[in-house]
């Protein structure tokens, strides 16, 4: 990717979704994009989902991230940078409040043990709430760019599909079965005599079952609101102003995952705006690893062990770089050469604003790999 294409990502998007497997620097990348956008005068908010609070680390926030957007003080920016951590359960509570008919219904749902489990643990809830938060922040006048760091999923589609998870859950046969007594006025006990529910009750215990029945009954009437909201969120994710960035590190396994992500997005008709490969060893001088190794052998033969060690070091670092660039190839093929940008491993760990600024400089001002 050339610098102008990276510029485009920052200037033209109003939502940027960063996807990739865990540990590839996805959160750092999201922070770098937000930082650069702020430097260019935009009001950017970066949302991280990672429970490890890596964004807080990267932004140098000692107390960690809050679940409300916090403004990061920047002295070199005309815009604003805000950051927040997704609180999955609190976000879900918010949707329940927005859709409930009255306070009594809110309380019945929020107090229900089964609801607490769904809010915290239903597979896909985290992705769904990330998408929901993205929608809420997009509508918030304080911000004109939302950068979201997705959960470290193996499946890019988890995020795209997530808003539909609850709808499908509500369409579930069991849900309908459980809704029957509420409609026909039968007691919960009557439902539990259904053989399938009895079986579930025997496996998980009757108290858990009773909680779930109570939840579904409390939820009655809210399905429509939830479905409409999910549709809005899906529409935003697929809107042209939403850009997708696939993040990887320069290792065989994470590149393979990134290729898989790109393939999945393309199948869904979604373009990947950029594929960012973090932590490639920088180039030192002209020439190959073999050249450096030859020079090292020559120096050793000439009785210059110090110089031999220096050449050997260059050979090692070039070897790594050559191997890293080779593993990146498949990603360049699926995403397109012009969309791949390779960022260097720095000589220190990135855990503060200066580190992020260094990466931003590489990403936006100086293309590292001449392709």
């Amino acid at each position: 990717m050339s610098a102008p294409a990276a510029d485009d990502l920052i200037e033209a998007s109003s939502v940027i979704v960063c996807c990739g497997s865990g540990g590839v620097g996805k959160t750092t990348t999201a922070a770098v994009l937000g930082l650069e956008a702020a430097r260019r005068g935009r009001r950017a908010v970066v949302v991280t989902i990672d429970p490890a609070r890596r964004l807080a680390d990267a932004l140098g926030l000692v107390d960690g991230l809050a679940s409300e957007p916090q403004r990061i003080e920047l002295d070199d920016s005309t815009g604003e940078l805000w950051a927040m951590m997704l609180d999955t359960a609190a976000t879900f509570d918010g949707i329940v409040r927005a859709n409930a008919e009255n306070d009594e219904q809110v309380d019945r749902i929020l107090d229900n043990a089964f609801y607490r489990n769904i809010a915290g643990a239903l597979s896909g809830t985290q992705e769904y709430m990330a998408a929901e938060m993205l929608h809420a922040l997009h509508a918030d006048d304080r911000f004109d760019l939302v950068v979201v760091d997705t959960p470290p999923s193996r499946n890019a589609l988890d995020f795209l599909d997530a808003p539909g998870v609850l709808s499908r859950f509500l369409d579930h046969r069991l849900f309908k079965l459980l809704m029957l007594p509420a409609r026909s006025g039968l007691k919960v006990i009557g439902t539990a005599t259904q053989p399938i529910l009895r079986a579930v009750g025997r496996v998980v215990g009757s108290d858990v079952l009773a909680d779930s029945v109570a939840f579904f009954q409390a939820f009655a009437g809210m399905e429509t609101g939830f479905r409409e909201r999910a549709d809005d969120v899906i529409a935003l994710i697929r809107a042209p102003e939403t850009s997708f960035v696939v993040v990887a590190s320069a290792r065989h396994d994470t590149i393979a995952e990134a290729v898989w992500f790109v393939d999945q997005l393309v199948e869904q008709g979604i373009d990947v705006t950029a594929a960012i490969v973090n932590r490639a060893h920088p180039a030192f001088g002209e020439g190959s690893a073999d050249d450096a190794l030859d020079a090292s052998v020559d120096a050793a033969a000439a009785g210059a062990p110090g110089l031999a060690a220096l050449w050997r070091n260059v050979a090692d670092l070039r070897t790594l770089r050559e191997r890293e660039l080779a593993v990146i190839d498949p990603l360049a093929k699926v995403a397109g050469d012009e969309r791949v940008v390779v960022l260097p491993l720095l000589d220190r760990d990135v855990h503060d604003l200066d580190g992020l600024r260094t990466i931003a400089a590489h990403l936006f001002d100086h293309p590292i790999v001449e392709r």
Binding site: D57, V200, G205, S212, G285, A304, V314, T319, R323
Partner: protein
């Protein structure tokens, strides 16, 4: 110097079930493969358990037994084994399995751990190495049993949770090996995870494995480097100087982080050297396994 473990392989395999955990990208799968390879070479009957559906592990140890365990399959098997054979199919078909997982979160984790417990009890293996979940999930994975035991008061799931707790609390049977890199963020995370696991799970912690530490060529220092390159063409001199500075800086950071880890987490460390590759092969795993077995004549 960090408190390096004197007998790395013995300390890593001190319990029959070893759960390897660490944040994404630190080399959890590598460490799983290396432990399994080293133990297998030492004559142990080893089973490798893989939880997240990645084929990479089996490729790294092609001749070892690798068992992928998925939560839905484990739950299905569990229901069949516990007198629910007749309804298991129906439960699956109607999606009730998903519902059960939702109704009692952690049930997925429990059945997976339960399956591991069963494999341990079978007596077929001397060592079961589990490529565990990423650190963020490691805590919930291992606390699920205690959580379920609190919320589910009866039934087969409760019984399973009790069995799993027994496994987790027995240091002879189970320990957790945390993996990190010698970098700031991974070290922060491994320290947090270690304390959380001790407090919330009460599981035995094995040595922490620091992966990918640079132990390569000895480099002259900055001033020696400057005089060594004097007289070379400027571009060549610059490349040599910059490359040496880069590597010294990375090494200094690694040394600082190792020292901080030693300071803040008083458990033995095992350091695995970095390889000059962008993806490991079975041969690399073999070489790294040799590092673990360096004191293999140690106490048994």
């Amino acid at each position: 110097m960090p408190p390096e473990s004197e007998y790395p392989l013995q300390s890593l395999t001190a319990a029959r079930v070893v759960v390897v955990a660490g944040k994404g990208g630190v080399g959890k799968t590598t460490v799983t493969a290396v432990i399994a390879r080293a133990a297998s070479r030492a004559g142990q009957r080893v089973l490798v358990v893989e939880l997240d559906g990645k084929p990479a592990l089996a490729e790294l140890v092609p001749d070892l037994e690798v068992l992928p365990i998925s939560a839905p399959d484990a739950l299905d098997e569990y229901l069949r084994d516990n007198g629910f054979a007749r309804i298991a199919k129906r439960l699956n078909r109607t999606g009730v399995i998903d519902m059960v997982g939702t109704a009692a979160p952690g049930i997925d984790d429990i059945v997976v751990l339960g399956k591991i417990k069963q494999l341990d009890r079978s007596g077929q293996y001397d060592l079961i190495v589990v490529d565990g979940p990423a650190a963020g999930h490691a805590i919930t994975f291992l606390t699920s049993a205690a959580g379920l035991a609190d919320s589910v008061r009866s039934g087969p799931v409760r019984a399973q949770a009790d069995d799993v707790l027994e496994l987790l609390h027995d240091p002879q049977r189970c320990q957790v090996v945390l993996v990190t890199l010698a970098e700031t963020t991974p070290v922060n995370e491994v320290i947090e995870t270690a304390f959380a696991l001790e407090d919330q799970v009460g599981v035995q912690l094995g040595p922490v494995v620091v992966n990918g530490v640079d132990d390569g060529v000895d480099l002259p220092d900055e001033s020696a480097t400057a005089s060594l390159v004097a007289g070379l063409e400027p571009e060549v001199a610059e490349a040599l100087v910059d490359a040496a500075a880069f590597r010294r800086s990375r090494r200094q950071m690694e040394a600082q982080e190792l020292a901080r880890l030693t300071d803040q987490l008083p458990i033995p460390q095992i350091v695995l050297p970095a390889k000059l590759v962008a993806g490991l092969t079975p041969d690399d795993i073999d070489e790294l396994a040799t590092v673990l077995a360096v004191h293999e004549d140690g106490p048994t």
